[in-house]
């Protein structure tokens, strides 16, 4: 019985078998800066493996709004003085980066810092961590709850609200806030839910968020109003939705 083995070999071969097991800190960086300024800091990259790791670092554009989309590329404001590193087993290296803003930049720009290493000759592992840069004093903060509805599917018996946040401004927002659930018959507050900071809603875009309003059988039969109060960057928005529980 003849057996044919179709082997996939590497494009990028190396004499060193590279097992990546990297830890990168911090995972997200937010910077607020004036234009024409310079900042320098470092990532800490740790190798938890028992073998040395080679990795490369690069930057790529992430979410820019239209006013910065064409001529403000990541390479122009986010500089990496060194792009190739070797880490000994169980060691940590610092990866320096430099942010240079320049006159005329407005709103916000963002980039991904890409850490890439070869797990082996066929698998490349990449970690992308974002840098968000806001040009101080040029922010246009403009967002609203575009839609708010109750998810009728009731996954696992829970009641979920699905809100669509629309960001018409020029900076990304990470909203926080609260949900207050009222009994529409009595006007009593039956529940308050804190909404923690979470994923960004990027400039000139919308994003959907799901909020668990109540657990299975948590609310009695009746009609309720869920009032959403959200805030980000000092601005507040509000919207409500009415729903019924028919237990």
């Amino acid at each position: 019985m003849k057996k044919f083995l179709l082997v996939v070999s590497c494009i990028i071969c190396s004499s060193v078998l590279l097992y990546a097991d990297l830890s990168i800190s911090p995972a997200v960086i937010n910077v607020v800066a004036t234009d024409a300024a310079i900042a320098e800091s470092t990532y800490k990259v740790s190798n938890t493996a028992d073998t040395k790791v080679l990795f490369k670092v690069s930057v790529e554009d992430w979410k820019n709004c239209s006013q910065n989309s064409s001529d403000v590329t990541a390479e122009k404001w986010l500089k990496l003085p060194q792009t190739e590193f070797e880490i000994a087993p169980k060691a940590t290296v610092e990866v320096p980066f430099r942010i240079e803003t320049f006159k005329g930049m407005t709103g916000s720009v963002s980039a991904m810092v890409v850490f890439s290493s070869n797990k082996n000759s066929m698998i490349n592992m990449t970690m992308k961590v974002p840098v968000y840069l806001i040009i101080d004093g040029t922010e246009d903060i403009d967002f609203k709850i575009d839609s708010l509805k109750i998810d009728e599917s009731k996954q696992n018996g829970n009641i979920y609200a699905v809100l669509n946040l629309k960001n018409d401004g020029n900076v990304h927002i990470r909203h926080t806030g609260k949900v207050t659930v009222y009994d529409t018959e009595t006007g009593d507050i039956v529940k308050k839910i804190e909404i923690e900071e979470t994923f960004p809603t990027y400039c000139e875009s919308s994003r959907e968020f799901t909020v668990n309003i109540a657990g299975k059988d948590e609310l009695k039969k009746g009609k309720y109003l869920a009032l959403f109060d959200l805030k980000a960057l000092g601005r507040f928005v509000q919207k409500s939705v009415i729903f019924e529980v028919n237990n």
Binding site: L6, I11, D21, P26, I29, K44, M125, K128
Partner: protein, 451 residues
């Protein structure tokens, strides 16, 4: 170090969501003085519920700046880019001194009731010359009740200049003031108080102070990331540098067909090795009780080859003809019924047929197992890494996303979440156009991207 025109903050959200929720609410870990965990906002003003300040005082309530201070040190940080050094200035002459992280919102307190039965954790370090600082008390102010749960020494710290994680439980058995009601009015999230007389200044270091919910995951370093290659046949690990496709390996007839004179078995063939993503190191969110957990990263697959027009495994014949074998992936071995996602109705690892809706550089559409409806897809195509959209939850290159959890299928039953902290990625290639005698190459990318 940043120049003064910059304000910088470090945010990690991976552990910020209660595992029971599918949405974006709840926080497992509340950072008090942490660059890893979100939480307090220092000196943000009374309108911010998370606003706090670092306040120092002594028993005389006078000239406190001469009795205690805090310094931020950026060199040699164990967590993030800096840590705080608390310095008691000649405590013998000023009585006791204290440094506290105090709520400064409009109500003067923060509702931390959900952390009842949880823990307060922090890193601390004391050098031998400052060993008297081990007597420093650690406590808080809940609902107007100032109390201490122990000293740095009793919490387990030694004067060896080594960082150590200390913790105490937020239980009434630790201190009767720790009740859910009192936690609802937390005025001081943590206080360090030195009341022993010593003849010289004392200092010790603190960092990464956070409140952790009961049952919450507690790992740090969310950006650990690793994958492994394993054999499909027995799940054993392999130290291989390549993934191989063996003709007929999954042929139900048991026949092995050699790739001689273009007679290699045509159609989709599954690799005899799979990729295991070690997500235990990446996330700590227990997804077993929820169809999707809220974590702010995604994991995607991509594929690079030498072709400028086609995606798949690539080879060139001696005459210069390019040959590309389309490639697909999926994250579960067994096929799943679209109506009963919790069951594996067909436990065999057999791909009867996969239909490519349209083939271009990227498959425009998804691939399906032929025995299921058109609304259910288990095989996904690859993209080049430059085309991966982190926040696009519908992308077929996503293995894991905050919204869908682990991706097993598309269509009416998606998202599906099955608790797998080490999801397996199976690969298949279409050998229909394969030519013998060639070495087909491609490089698979596994991308972990934060937002």
């Amino acid at each position: 170090m940043f120049k003064k025109s910059f304000i910088i903050s470090f945010l990690i959200f991976s552990f910020t969501v209660t595992f029971a929720y599918a949405g974006n609410i709840g926080r497992n870990v509340y950072g008090v003085l942490s660059e890893t965990f979100l939480g307090t906002h220092f000196d943000a003003g009374s309108g911010d519920v998370d606003s706090v300040t670092f306040e120092f005082w002594n028993d005389q309530w006078t000239d406190y700046k001469n009795t205690m201070k805090g310094e931020t040190i950026t060199s040699g940080a164990v967590e993030g880019n800096s840590y705080t050094r608390l310095i008691f200035l000649n405590p013998k002459n000023c009585g006791w001194g204290a440094g506290a992280i105090k709520s400064t919102n409009s109500g003067g307190s923060k509702n931390m009731g959900v952390y009842f039965n949880g823990k307060v954790k922090f890193l601390a370090r004391v050098s031998s010359e400052n060993s008297a600082a081990l007597n420093c008390n650690v406590g808080m102010n809940l609902n107007g009740n100032i109390f201490y749960v122990g000293t740095l020494r009793s919490l387990g710290l030694e004067a060896n200049n080594q960082w150590k994680e200390l913790s105490f439980e937020l239980k009434s058995s630790v201190n009767s003031n720790i009740t859910e009601t009192n936690l609802g009015k937390t005025q001081v999230l943590i206080v360090f108080m030195q009341d022993s007389n010593v003849s010289s200044n004392l200092s010790f270091d603190i960092d990464n102070i956070r409140w952790v919910k009961n049952g919450a995951p507690t790992k740090l370093n969310p950006s650990f990331f690793d994958v492994n290659l394993k054999n499909v046949s027995d799940n054993s690990s392999v130290n291989a540098s390549t993934i191989s496709w063996t003709s007929g390996y999954f042929n139900t007839s048991g026949k092995n067909i050699a790739l001689i004179n273009d007679t290699f078995r045509k159609g989709w063939v599954v690799a005899d090795k799979y990729i295991e993503i070690d997500m235990e190191k990446v996330y700590d969110v227990d997804v077993s009780t929820s169809y999707a957990a809220s974590v702010n990263y995604s994991i995607s697959m991509c594929l690079k080859n030498s072709s400028s027009t086609r995606n798949g495994l690539y080879a060139v014949t001696n005459s210069g003809q390019e040959v590309v074998l389309p490639m697909a992936w999926r994250s579960i071995k067994e096929l799943i019924s679209p109506t009963t996602p919790s069951q594996t109705e067909i436990p065999s690892f057999l791909i009867k047929e996969i239909i490519i809706q349209k083939e271009s550089r990227y498959f425009e559409g998804h691939l399906k197992d032929a025995n299921f409806s058109e609304n259910y897809y288990t095989w996904f195509y690859f993209k080049d890494s430059s085309d991966i959209k982190t926040d696009d939850d519908k992308s077929y290159v996503k293995v894991w996303s905050y919204k869908e959890g682990l991706k097993h299928g598309e269509g009416a039953m998606a998202p599906i979440n099955i608790a797998e902290k080490k999801p397996k990625i199976y690969l298949a290639i279409n050998t229909t156009d394969a030519l013998g005698g060639l070495k087909y190459t491609g490089k698979i990318c596994v991308v972990l991207a934060y937002e």
